[in-house]
Subunit: 154 residues, 2 copies
DNA sequence: TATTGTTATACTCTATAACTATA
DNA sequence: TATAGTTATAGAGTATAACAATA
């Protein structure tokens, strides 16, 4: 006894087996959040990846590109232009690492700190808005479930 | 009293505030699942988007490109080459819709049905593997939570 | 006028291979 | 030899604008 499809804007369109796939819902939910993230940070020029870098540099001052990229799942080759973008904008300071002259030591500039704080404030509001239908226990449970899937990376 | 970071491969790298952001974990988990999806369907030439289209056409025989794209969050312009790819490979049948001569009516060919079944089988195993640390209740709860976030699309 | 499908185009993200300079 | 950063390049995914045919 499948319940009749509720009359929606598009007449009777089912997504079929997709509806039971975690991967499909991850993709869609991630896209919804990503789009709203962009709107929330509109005018800052900061995108999801860039905020990730600011966050990891803030948490690990002096970290180098490779380690930051590894922690974020970004390939070294792709880190180059991202780090350039942030240093060119004056948000990151980059200097040759004392212990390893091949590496760059990254820190947030004061402009970077300010940008980080502004973004974090907006992101907090953005997440609260999108997660408004979840209790705080559900929100924590969601993060826990997602982390357990992330751990399956290979 | 923050607990000391467990000694991991990379020495003491924290992702900072990212760890409390649903959006970050959605991105990472979605990437992990997407990568494993690719490996699972290796050799079929079917990617996540393409499987989505096969699934919706199977569930809604005769649907047109626009409606399928709308249900999947794919722009009409981007549907064109995706549908071409599937029809060129003989997986989809496309014919001018009787009721609206502007539109194409899409159905799975028998090769498309076979491909869908094969993919669904592999995807089932892939999801079971990735979700092996979640109970079935947790897996259902996860899909429910993600659906509630998807509903926030605008 | 609005909608279906189309073309052209561009930007972001991601992936690989080959190079340099240091270790 | 291995690693840090770099360059070049390619393929996906996604976004917009403008057009023809049909509604």
């Amino acid at each position: 006894m499948a319940s009749a499809a509720t009359a929606s804007a598009e007449h009777e369109v089912s997504i079929g087996n997709l509806d039971r796939l975690v991967g499909y819902h991850l993709r869609r939910a991630s896209a919804v959040v990503g789009n709203d993230f962009s709107r929330a940070l509109d005018g800052t020029g900061i995108r999801q990846v860039l905020f990730g870098i600011l966050s990891i540099v803030k948490a690990n001052p002096g970290i180098n590109q490779g380690a930051a990229g590894r922690a974020l799942g970004i390939k070294r080759a792709n880190m180059v232009s991202l780090i350039n973008e942030l240093t060119d904008r004056g948000l990151l300071d980059r200097k040759i690492a004392a212990e390893d002259r091949r590496a760059f030591s990254l820190t947030l500039s004061s402009a970077g700190e300010a940008m980080f704080d502004e973004c974090l404030k907006r992101i907090g509001a953005h997440e609260d808005r999108l997660m408004s239908d979840l209790s705080s226990a559900e929100r924590a449970a969601l993060i826990d479930l997602l982390s357990r899937i992330e751990a399956k990376e290979r």
